[in-house]
C-alpha cells in the first residue's frame, strides 16, 4: 500500500511540475490581443493586452509605469491607473491585463497614459535576450521594450560641462547632478551608442547607478536592461558588469 501511495504521489508531483512548467506565456484570454496583433494595431487604436511585469519604473499618484513582456514581445505601459496598494502587488513576473490605447512618443511605442489593468494568474520572468548583434540593424526595433543584454561593449568618452572627457554624464549634456539620469556611450565595431540609467527605473541608490559612476573610458562591459526608444534606440540599463 505504501508503495502504491508513494507511486501515486510521485505521479501527481510529476503532473504538477509539468503543469507548472507548461504555462503558455503567449496564451491570451478572450478578447486579448496577441503581441503580433498589438504590433500590427494602428496608433491611437484601442488595445487590450496581457503581459508579465518585468520591471516597475515609477508610481506617482495613482499612475504606474511598467515594462511587460510575454514570449513574443514586450510592452511599455505609461502611467496606467494604479493605486499604491496595487502597485505593491506588481512583483516581477506578475501577469496583468491592460486595456488602453496604443500610442507612440518620440519613437517609443507604448500603451498610453490612463490605461486600466487587472492582475491575472500566471508568472513569468524573461531571460535577457542578447541583442548585441542587432545593434545598428533595422531588426533591433522589433525587440523594443524587451529585457535585453549587450555583451563586450567598450565604454567611450563623453564630454562634461567643463569640456573634460569622462565616462558618464549627469543628464545627456552633463548639466545635471547626482540623482539625475546617467548617460554614457559604449561602442561596438566602431559604432557608438548612447545608453542610459533612467533614474526612475534605477535611482542613485541602486547597484547599476553606482557601477556606471565607477566606469572608466575603455572598460569592456556586459549590460542588461530594457530596450527603450527615444528618437532612436536608448537602452535603459539595469545592470552593468565590467569584464
Amino acid at each position: 500500500m505504501k508503495k502504491i501511495t508513494a507511486l501515486l504521489m510521485a505521479v501527481l508531483m510529476v503532473f504538477g511540475l509539468t503543469a507548472c512548467g507548461s504555462e503558455d506565456i503567449n496564451a491570451k484570454s478572450e478578447g486579448v490581443m496577441t503581441y503580433a496583433e498589438y504590433a500590427a494595431a494602428e496608433l491611437d487604436s484601442a488595445v487590450v493586452i496581457e503581459g508579465y511585469v518585468q520591471a516597475k519604473q515609477s508610481w506617482w499618484n495613482n499612475s504606474a509605469t511598467v515594462y511587460l513582456q510575454d514570449g513574443e514581445g514586450a510592452y511599455f505601459v505609461y502611467n496606467m491607473v494604479c493605486s499604491e496598494e496595487d502597485y505593491a502587488k506588481l512583483e516581477q513576473g506578475t501577469k496583468i491585463k491592460v486595456t488602453g490605447y496604443k500610442t507612440e512618443w518620440a519613437g517609443e511605442v507604448e500603451v498610453a497614459e490612463g490605461a486600466t489593468f487587472e492582475i491575472m494568474d500566471g508568472n513569468y520572468v524573461a531571460e535577457a535576450q542578447d541583442v548585441t548583434s542587432l545593434l545598428g540593424t533595422d531588426e533591433l526595433i522589433d525587440n523594443q521594450n524587451k529585457f535585453v543584454a549587450f555583451k563586450d561593449m567598450t565604454v567611450e568618452a563623453s564630454t562634461d560641462a567643463n569640456g573634460n572627457e569622462v565616462a558618464y554624464l549627469y543628464k545627456w549634456d552633463g548639466s545635471g547632478q547626482d540623482g539625475d539620469d546617467l548617460y554614457f556611450y559604449v561602442s561596438l565595431n566602431g559604432e557608438k551608442y548612447q545608453f542610459t540609467v533612467e533614474s526612475y527605473l534605477c535611482d542613485n541608490t541602486t547597484d547599476v547607478y553606482a557601477a556606471v559612476k565607477n566606469l572608466k573610458v575603455g572598460d569592456v562591459v556586459d549590460m542588461e536592461g530594457f530596450l527603450y526608444w527615444y528618437e532612436g534606440v536608448n537602452p535603459h540599463i539595469t545592470s552593468v558588469t565590467v569584464k
Binding site: Y101, S175, Q177, E231
Partner: protein, 541 residues
C-alpha cells in the same frame, strides 16, 4: 530636453492632486512658525551663512556653469555667505518640492519659480519674504550704499516684468529672465505649398497651410516632404495656446479675484476648431507626439510653436539637437511672433523664471538671500544667462549694455553664441514687451493653467482615437477637467491669495458651520464647568 516628458507629466499630476492637501498643512505650520520678515538695521557680516539656491535650467550645461560662476563671484564678494546650488530642469518639480518642504520648514532660501506657484506658497503665512521694502532700502536695497557690487536700481528693472511679480499688494519675487513664445517655421515648405508668409502670422493662415500640408500620395507619403510622417503644426505648451487664444479673442479666462472663466463658449468654439484640424492630421502637441523641434528639424513639421527659450533647438543648424544627423533636413527657417486673431493688436504671453526668497526665523539669513538674489540681477549674470537661449535680460541696465547690444547685432556670425534663430527669437520679445501679458495670480491659478492645456490635450487625443467630439463631449470634458484639477473647490475657497486674506470675502458655509460648532462647544464647556463649580460650592456649604 531629452526625455523630459516622463517626469514632467508625472510631477504635474502629482502636484495638481497633492497640493490641496499639502496646503492645509503648510498653512497651519506657517502660521505657527514664522514671524513677518523685518529688515535688520545692519547685515551682520561677522557671521557665516549657508543658503540654498534652487535653480532651474533648460538642461543646458552653459546655464549650469553660469549659475556656478555667479555663486563663485558672489561668494568672493561675501566670503561669509556660502550658496549651495540645487538644480532642476522643470518648474513643476521645484513647485512640488517647495510645497513638501514648507510643511517641514525646510524651504530653500532662494528659489527660481513662477508667480503662479508663489501664490500657492503664500497660503502658508509669511513663508515668502515680501520685497517692496528691501527693493528701496538705502543700504541694502537695489543699488544700495552697502551692496558690494554694481546692482541695478529699482527703476532699471523693466517695469512690465516687475509688475508681473506684484500680487496681493506686495512684490513677492523679482523677474530673473523673460521669454515669450515664437513660431518657428519651415519657410521652404510653406513656399513649396504655394504660400507666402505674411508680415504678421494669423491663425487662419497657419491652419490653412497646415491643412494643405496633409495631402498624401497613394503610398502614404506626404506630398510636401516625401516622408511617411508630417505633423504640420505642433504646439509645445497647450496651456499657453489656450490662454493666448482666449486673450486675443478678449474672452474670459480668469479674474484677479480668482474667478475662473475658462469654461466658456469661446473656449468650446476654439476646441471644436482645433478638433477639425486634428481630424485632418494637421495638428498635434508635445505631450502627444514629442518635441516640436525634433519634428521641425526632421522636415516633419512646418509650424513649431515653443518658447523663445527653446530657440537653440530649432533649425537645420541648431546648436542643440535630439535627433540623429541623418534625420536632419535642410530648410530655411523663419522665426515669427505667435499667430494672432487680430494682427493689428498682437498679444502674447510673458513667461520665464522669477526668483523669490523664503522667509526664515533669522532675518540675517534672509538678508544674505536677498543679497544673492540681487546679485542675479547684475549685468554679468543677466547678459551671460540671456545669451544661453532666447531670453531677454530683465533690466534696462543689461539690455542697454554695449556688450549685450553687440551680441544682438551679431546674429548669424556662428551657430553657437550668435545663432541667428536664438537672437531673432529674443528680438521678438524685446520688440513686443508692451504686447505681452500675464494671467492673474491667485491660489489655484497654477491649476487653472494646467486645466486650460488639458482641454486641448484631451480634445486632440479624443479625435485621434476617433471618438465623437460634440456638445455632449464638451460638457463632459468641462466637468471632468474641473473635477480633475479640483477647480470647483479652489473657486469656492475664494481663489484668493493667502497673503491677502482680507480679500477672501465671505467665509465658506462649511467653515461657518465648523467655527460655529466650536463656539457652541466652548459655551457648553464653560456652562458645564460653571455648573460644577456652583454645585461644589453648594456642597461645601
Amino acid at each position: 530636453m531629452m526625455k523630459m516628458r516622463k517626469k514632467w507629466l508625472s510631477l504635474l499630476l502629482l502636484t495638481v492632486l497633492t497640493v490641496g492637501s499639502a496646503l492645509s498643512l503648510t498653512g497651519c505650520h506657517g502660521r505657527e512658525g514664522l514671524e513677518p520678515f523685518v529688515i535688520p538695521e545692519e547685515f551682520d557680516t561677522s557671521r557665516e551663512y549657508d543658503i540654498t539656491f534652487w535653480a532651474k535650467n533648460d538642461t543646458n550645461k552653459t546655464q549650469t556653469m553660469i549659475y556656478e560662476q555667479a555663486i563663485a563671484d558672489f561668494e568672493a564678494l561675501y566670503p561669509n555667505i556660502n550658496v549651495n546650488l540645487r538644480l532642476y530642469t522643470d518648474y513643476g518639480r521645484i513647485y512640488n518640492d517647495v510645497i513638501t518642504n514648507i510643511a517641514t520648514n525646510t524651504t530653500p532660501n532662494v528659489c527660481i519659480t513662477y508667480p503662479d506657484h508663489i501664490a500657492t506658497y503664500l497660503t502658508g503665512d509669511n513663508q515668502v519674504a515680501p520685497l517692496e521694502e528691501l527693493l528701496v532700502d538705502g543700504k541694502y536695497g537695489l543699488g544700495g550704499s552697502e551692496v558690494r557690487f554694481d546692482a541695478p536700481t529699482k527703476e532699471e528693472i523693466i517695469p512690465k516684468f516687475l509688475e508681473e511679480c506684484e500680487f496681493g499688494g506686495h512684490y513677492y519675487a523679482m523677474p530673473y529672465m523673460r521669454s515669450t513664445e515664437a513660431c518657428y517655421i519651415n519657410k521652404t515648405y510653406v513656399e513649396a505649398l504655394g504660400y507666402t508668409l505674411p508680415e504678421k502670422l494669423t491663425w487662419d493662415f497657419v491652419w490653412e497651410v497646415s491643412d494643405a500640408a496633409t495631402k498624401q500620395d497613394a503610398e502614404g507619403n506626404y506630398l510636401v516632404n516625401g516622408q511617411k510622417v508630417m505633423i504640420p503644426f505642433i504646439y509645445k505648451s497647450t496651456d499657453n495656446m489656450m490662454i493666448q487664444m482666449l486673450r486675443q479673442k478678449d474672452a474670459g479666462y480668469s479674474t484677479k479675484e480668482g474667478q475662473m472663466l475658462l469654461f466658456n463658449d469661446t473656449t468650446k468654439e476654439l476646441l471644436f476648431d482645433i478638433a477639425d484640424h486634428v481630424k485632418l492630421g494637421a495638428f498635434s502637441t508635445f505631450k502627444i507626439s514629442s518635441y516640436p523641434a525634433n519634428f521641425l528639424n526632421a522636415g516633419q513639421c512646418i509650424f513649431a510653436i515653443d518658447s523663445t527659450a527653446g530657440a537653440t533647438w530649432m533649425g537645420t543648424d541648431a546648436p542643440l539637437c535630439d535627433i540623429s544627423e541623418e534625420k536632419i533636413v535642410e530648410f530655411e527657417i523663419e522665426v515669427m511672433e505667435i499667430p494672432q486673431f487680430d494682427p493689428e493688436n498682437p498679444e502674447m504671453i510673458s513667461q520665464g523664471p522669477s526668483v523669490c526668497i523664503f522667509n526664515k526665523e533669522d532675518p540675517q539669513e534672509v538678508m544674505a538671500s536677498w543679497l544673492f538674489m540681487q546679485y542675479l540681477l547684475t549685468n554679468k549674470v543677466q547678459i551671460a544667462y540671456a545669451q544661453t537661449e532666447g531670453y531677454a535680460p530683465v533690466t534696462s541696465k543689461a539690455q542697454q549694455d554695449p556688450q549685450y547690444l553687440d551680441y544682438l547685432s551679431r546674429g548669424g556670425e556662428d551657430n553657437e553664441l550668435y545663432y541667428d534663430v536664438k537672437i531673432e527669437a529674443t528680438e521678438i520679445l524685446l520688440d513686443n514687451v508692451d504686447n505681452t501679458f500675464v494671467t492673474p495670480v491667485f491660489n489655484g491659478s497654477a491649476s487653472l493653467r494646467d486645466a486650460a492645456g488639458q482641454l486641448i490635450e484631451n480634445t486632440v487625443k479624443s479625435v485621434r482615437r476617433k471618438q465623437t467630439v460634440d456638445e455632449a463631449y464638451m460638457e463632459s470634458l468641462y466637468s471632468d477637467t474641473i473635477s480633475l484639477y479640483r477647480l470647483d473647490q479652489l473657486e469656492s475657497q475664494g481663489g484668493a491669495l493667502g497673503a491677502d486674506k482680507a480679500a477672501l470675502g465671505e467665509m465658506p458655509g462649511t467653515s461657518v458651520i465648523l467655527l460655529s460648532s466650536l463656539g457652541v462647544a466652548w459655551i457648553l464647556i464653560i456652562l458645564y464647568v460653571g455648573c460644577q463649580m456652583i454645585k461644589k460650592k453648594r456642597n461645601n456649604q
